[in-house]
């Protein structure tokens, strides 16, 4: 974890309001692991913005973000050449990919980017990506390069019609998977955790919480986990953002 300057070397608009940056910083790229995040300083704002690492390259990382409020709107104005002040890499990512392991990735909306690097590192991956509608679909091609990919929309305007959970159950009924990695809105994660439990598949989920320090000092980002039948406090920025779905209370 360092405070570093990373230069935007590529900017893409994936959908209206959703952007992709490639940020160049060798040390951060070399330390980073799938599922970790970075904390971005935006001039004029007291708090940094946490954004997940989407891809890791030799001397750069990729992030994908949606404009949600004032801070991300400011970030969307940034262009190639902008030097960004980041603290990175932060948190605990996914369990390392192991060879011979079959991974099922389940992403919802802006929860799809944090799963891409893990998918890239797995020999065998099937991806289920859910979006509200056609205009929200992102990263389809990126995931297709890694393996079988199901894209679904809530309103059926693109790909399959229905929620990710429907296709998750279908996948688990027809094929044996060793692990699931999921990110998306809380209700979706809750449903996925229940399904993983029912099918007895190891499942990790990436959580979001409002943060101040991003490093584990302020205790601002608490979530509750249950270990050995006891409720305990955990902090998304330091103990997560990735948790075992059977341990975290959603």
């Amino acid at each position: 974890m360092i405070k570093a300057i990373a230069e935007i070397i590529k900017k893409d608009c994936l959908q209206s309001g959703t952007y992709s940056f490639i940020l160049k910083n060798k040390q951060v790229a070399q330390e980073a692991k799938p599922g970790q995040f970075i904390n971005i300083l935006i001039d004029g704002f007291t708090l940094r913005r946490p954004i997940s690492i989407c891809e890791i390259f030799e001397d750069s990382i990729r992030i994908v973000f949606a404009v949600r409020g004032k801070g991300t709107a400011k970030m969307a104005e940034w262009d190639v050449g902008k030097k960004v002040d980041i603290i990175a890499p932060l948190g605990n990512g996914f369990k390392d990919a192991a060879s011979g392991e079959k991974l099922l990735v389940v992403g919802g909306g802006i929860g799809t980017p944090p799963l891409l690097e893990l998918a890239k590192r797995s020999n065998y991956v099937k991806s289920i990506l859910g979006f509200r509608n056609k205009d929200m679909v992102i990263l389809e091609e990126d995931y297709k390069k890694q393996g079988t990919t199901v894209v679904c929309t809530d309103d059926g305007s693109y790909g399959e019609n229905g929620f990710v959970t429907k296709f998750l159950i279908q996948s688990l009924e027809t094929e044996k998977f060793d692990r699931i990695a999921a990110c998306g809105p809380k209700p979706m994660l809750k449903a996925i955790a229940e399904i993983a439990n029912k099918y007895n598949v190891f499942c990790e989920i990436s959580l979001e919480e409002r943060m101040a320090c991003g490093v584990g000092a302020c205790l601002g980002c608490q979530c509750i986990i249950e270990k050995d039948g006891k409720k305990q406090s955990a902090h998304v920025c330091k103990d997560g953002p990735v948790f075992k779905s059977c341990e975290v209370l959603l």
């Binding site: 007291t46 708090l47 409002r210 101040a212 205790l219 979530c223």
Partner: protein, 304 residues
């Protein structure tokens, strides 16, 4: 060579006047990955209570113009855990350690102080001002009588230098400051956070799960400066000033208003190197202004 930045607050030496504010710096473990804790004047630890506390439900953080709200609610592992597991490690650091303590009754506060009395901790900071706990906390800090009672109870149980941290959420901070002084406080620290609230206009839900929380960050600097100035004129014990400090200029302003030392909190979230930058810039400012000893500037405001 004399250290031009060294200060002494109620008999406690600090190698420089910068203390990291309680609750914003944990115990220093995380920020030690950025810089050596030896550089700091002192560290005020996360508010510690008699028993472990889980704190309030999330969300606990909301951003505000030039600041933030928090409703952490004194999440901490309890005094026994702190004394056994964390304090020995902290005391190996070459900096001054201040134990920030709180409790829901005067007796609970006194018990924590008594346990610290038997350790090598350098100073106790009694928080009578946390806006995030239902009982105690703010209640002690908002009436002179209650403040007097809790400070005296704690005073009876400890010989450690005792600093009392005051709430700004009061009609007259001077009254509370005087009560704490007469109950035996050796120093005062101010200000804690100001009670605030934010609401999501779409869901109509408060952002904080606790509905309300404490405002900190640059937005509160002028309130803190004003209160330090008022209290400095009313009491004889030293003041540690804090609230919204994010630059050397802010810190110097706080000292000119009457603070013998100062605390930095929220600004560390924006930039973890804020404490280091502030210290370097104060050093430069002293050289440029030919100030030989930082204590020279304390309380030198020339009010109209």
């Amino acid at each position: 060579m004399i250290n031009k930045m060294a200060v002494n607050v109620a008999g406690v030496d600090f190698k420089n006047p910068l203390i990291t504010a309680s609750g914003t710096f944990g115990y220093g473990r995380e920020y030690e990955q950025f810089f050596s804790l030896d550089k700091l004047g002192g560290i005020s630890i996360k508010g510690t209570t008699d028993k472990p506390r889980m704190g309030n439900l999330s969300p606990r953080i909301a951003e505000t113009p030039m600041g933030m709200l928090n409703s952490v609610g004194l999440e901490n592992p309890g005094i026994d855990y702190f004394v056994e597991k964390t304090l020995p490690w902290l005391l190996t650091k070459n900096t001054t350690i201040v134990a920030n303590i709180a409790g829901s009754t005067p007796e609970a506060c006194a018990e924590v102080a008594e346990k610290l009395d038997a350790t090598d901790i350098h100073m106790i900071e009694l928080n009578i001002s946390c806006p995030n706990v239902k009982q105690g906390g703010a209640a002690f800090g908002t009436s002179a009588k209650a403040a007097y009672e809790v400070v005296s109870k704690v005073r009876q149980k400890t010989k450690k230098p005792l600093m009392v941290k005051l709430s700004p959420n009061v009609t007259s901070i001077v009254e509370i400051a005087k009560a704490a002084q007469s109950a035996g406080a050796d120093a005062l620290s101010l200000i804690n956070t100001l009670l605030g609230m934010r609401i999501d206009i779409n869901s109509k839900r408060p952002i904080l799960r606790n509905n309300v929380g404490g405002l900190s960050g640059p937005a509160i600097l002028p309130v803190a400066i004003r209160m330090v100035w008022q209290v400095y004129r009313a009491v004889d014990i030293p003041i540690v000033g804090g609230g919204g400090i994010s630059s050397a200029e802010d810190a110097i302003e706080m000292m000119i208003a009457g603070a013998s030392a100062f605390q930095v909190g929220t600004a560390i979230f924006t930039d973890p190197y804020t404490p280091i930058n502030i210290l370097n810039d104060i050093d430069k400012w002293m050289t440029e202004n030919n100030i030989k000893n930082i204590n020279e500037i304390v309380g030198t405001v020339l009010e109209w």
